[in-house]
Every structure is written in structure tokens, then in C-alpha cells.
Amino acid sequence: MIYALCLVLVGIGLYGVLAKKNVVKIVIGLMIMEYGIHLLLILIGYRRNGAFPIMQPGQDPGAYASVAVDPLPQALVLTSIVISLGVLALLVALCLRLYEKYGTFDISEMRRLRG
């Protein structure tokens, strides 16, 4: 049920990527898709009434392992967030270059200028 809300977020991003004409809107749609996917992964790793995965001083490892949430999706989502920043920088650089060349962010204009 709560996963469905996440997937709605991904769907909104996909709609933005597929149906919008503005290049910056397409980039924004990609960002929204990334947000939805990250949240979905963290939700899958969540444990009911779970604690954050940092061991307290003097805590027994067995007891800790039975309350902490899953650290593996968190580590991979951390990687993914940083990579999405790099991808965004590259995309925005491409957008700026397209604007320099064509004077607009509209992708249909770009198609008309160059066959």
C-alpha cells in the first residue's frame, strides 16, 4: 500500500520525462523518479519499530541485530544519491550547451533547426 504511493511518485517522474517538451522539465522528472526509487528501497529495508543502525556503547550485538533496520539498502541508496548528483551535473551541463546552441530549452525547436 505504501509502496504504491512511492510508485505513484516514480510514475509522475516518468510522465514528466516522457511528455514534457522543456529539457529542464525532463531533468526534473528524472530527479523525481530517483527520489521515488530511493524511498522505495529504504521502505523495503525498514523493520517495524526499528532503530537506526548505529550500535550504542555496551550494546549486545545480538540484541542490536534484532532491533536495527537493514543497513544494506541504506548503504546502496547512499551510493545512488551521490551518483544521482553527478548525473544531474552532467545533464544540466548538456542542457546549458543546448541552450547556447539553439537559444531555447524546447526540444521540438531543436529538432526543427537541425534535421
Binding site: K25, I44, D70
Partner: protein
Amino acid sequence: MIVELTAGLILLMIAGALVAIETRNLLSAVVSVGAVGYLLSVAFLFLGAPDIAITQIVVEILCLVILIRATISRDLTSISGDRELIGLLASLALLLVVTVVVILTAAYFPEFGAAVMDRVAGAPSRTYLLDGLEKTGAANSVTAVLLDFRAYDTLGEATVLFCSILGALTVLRRRARKKPEEDA
């Protein structure tokens, strides 16, 4: 309790995402997507992921700086309308396909709140939690996974980041390098 809270946050995020996609002013779209990102970091805090929440805030600030740099003082007049009919139909068909696939795979999602490591015997996450302190000396299991158990992933992440920044710099370079014959 946490389910309702997270669901409310996701609903707010959906509202922000709709505004970001549909608004006509590019700068307001960028600000809306920033709001979605900050709501996401609050959701991470409630879901027991403080490391992710901090990273999300930092990355969100950088994203906003980059996007505002791209949109400000440029073409803020709206580009109205959607794509041509064929493209729109193709994208709607693709959306439909994705929706069908999601509905088909929905049955395989675990129940919310039941962690995967509780159901799968020998899940690696259990090892990370049980032996993390002893093997790596890190009390924080996320950093133990990130920098010790799966350090190659982090190395790959750094490589990808470096390559993308290099690509962005190359694309944004003002002048192309001179050709040899032009030097003479």
C-alpha cells in the same frame, strides 16, 4: 503510526512533484523539486536512516544550486503544450506498460515492516549487523558496509562521480581546442 506519517509525507511529495512537473515557470518548478527533496530527507529520518537524511540534504542543496544556475536569467517564459501526438501516444503506451509491470510485480514486495533479513536465512545484512563492530571497528553499520564490506562499490561510485564531473566540464568548455593546422 510510522506508516501513516510516511504516507502523509509521500502524499506531500506527490503534490510537490505534480507542481514541479506542471507549473509553467521553470524557477518555481526547481523550487518545488527542492521541497520534494527536503520532504524525502524528513521521511528518511523517520525511517531510521539518519545518514541518508544528512546526505540527502547536502545533495539537495547542491542540486538546487546547479538547477538554479541552469534556469535563472534564461528562458523563464513558459514552453507550453505537450509533445506531438505520436510522441505523446508512444509515451502513454510506455507508461501503460510500466504500470502493468508494476502491478504484476507488486505481489512480490515484502510486507511493510517485515525486514528481508528476518525472512531470508543467511541474509548478508544480519552478518553486517552482528559482526560489523568486531570485524571493522565501526559502530555505524552503514559506514561499515559502505567503507569495509562493500568498499569496491564506493570506489566505483567515486569513479562514476569523477567521470560525470569530467564530462560536465568537457561539455561546458568555452572554446574547442585549436586544431593543429590553425596554429601555423
